[in-house]
Symmetry: C2
Subunit: 241 residues, 2 copies
């Protein structure tokens, strides 16, 4: 499927595409990373998410890079963002541009943070491997709950382009405890039909743990990811190409 | 949700409703049952289905009662119908109006037929309990594959009314091996959103085996069925009724 740029007419769509090409996601992420490193940014654990307060310039970068949700507050000089578990850990562990404080108000090390994430989400290791796999390839990754999937991915900012894939993260190979989806044909039918109706394909990421546990974030480097797209087959449409 | 009668305009919809009330499904099923008993009808096992050849009058009743699919053949005086496993077993075991021959060309008794069904479909006992539960209440029950569910149910013939529910049959209580659906929130989101987009609700039938096995069809009487409908919750729509 080709990317579907947003816009009322052909010209507006072309403008969206040009804007995306002018400022690729890799560059936006790099700017966000540099800015957060420079300001020694720190967030804190809050329930099932991480909250971080940022300056005006960083607000723009957070929005452009599609990390978290802005939170309304009465503070004028600061903007708060609420990050999901995968998003926070990605900024912290993969981009190394965010510190996260625990309840004792001191920065958590990777190991402490890893245990926190796993205590909040049983299959965090698999979901995070899937999330980081796509973010590292500069896809914009957002929650997929409204489409009944784990994530949806965009080629660039959701303001410029429709998402192309709904993503389910499954744990293949040596165990199957990551996600109870796609065990029945009816689930395949349901998921591909729903995604098809909103012009998306189903992307399944099979995470193989290769016999490695998930006690520490160092296991992530040993996990492998197998990608498969799944689409509906229609005898009429598929005949003679 | 109110039934959605089919028709181009209000009058046509009213005609559909009147037609359904004039000839209720209970009456159609009774006529089919009587006719099949009278003609001593017999079908035979064929792969994952049962085939039965019927006279002209019975063809009409099969179509009206929504059992099976008519099969095109060159025979002029007979119409063949292909019945699904649940449909065939319902006519045979519950309505007692159809005999089914095995490979030796002699009628299978209930026990033989039960074993055949279970060899073709692992969780046949649960699916059949769900199917017969709805048919006994005079719902028209059809396969639900295109909506990613086990069945769809209609208040009357699909020519007169849209289906109101997509049905998933789950095995609750003492075991959970019937169907691997609805184990994750994302699956709930996916199913309710898809069904919502085609104006149906999700009906979940939880079958409790109550500690009884599924070695013979006599177990069915001891199974209990718990019905739940599940719909999406929207804060905007649900506030202030």
């Amino acid at each position: 499927m080709a990317p579907r740029w947003k816009g009322k007419d052909t010209k507006a769509k072309k403008d969206s595409e040009d804007e995306a090409h002018k400022e690729p996601m890799s560059k936006i992420i790099y700017l966000l990373q540099s800015s957060l490193v420079q300001s020694d940014a720190a967030g804190f654990l809050s329930g099932n998410s991480v909250r971080v307060a940022v300056e005006a310039e960083q607000t723009d970068l957070f929005v452009k890079a599609c990390f978290g949700q802005p939170v309304s507050t009465v503070e004028k000089d600061k903007q708060w963002f609420q990050l999901g578990l995968e998003e926070a850990f990605y900024l912290c562990n993969s981009l190394k541009c965010l510190k996260i404080n625990g309840s004792n108000n001191s920065p958590q090390d990777d190991q402490e943070l890893w245990h926190f994430m796993r205590s909040k989400k049983k299959a965090f290791s698999c979901f995070y491997k899937g999330y980081s796999h796509l973010r590292l390839k500069n896809w914009v990754v957002r929650p997929g709950a409204q489409y009944g999937v784990d994530f949806v991915v965009y080629r660039h900012h959701p303001a410029l382009v429709h998402s192309e894939y709904g993503v389910l993260v499954l744990s293949g190979g040596d165990d199957n405890d990551c996600n109870g989806r796609l065990r029945e044909w009816s689930d395949f039918h349901c998921t591909t039909r729903l995604l098809g109706s909103v012009a998306k394909s189903l992307l399944v990421l099979y995470i193989s743990k290769n016999g490695v546990g998930d006690d520490s974030p160092s296991c992530l480097a040993k996990y492998t990811v197998e990608e498969r797209t799944i689409t509906r087959w229609s005898p009429q449409q598929c005949r003679e190409g």
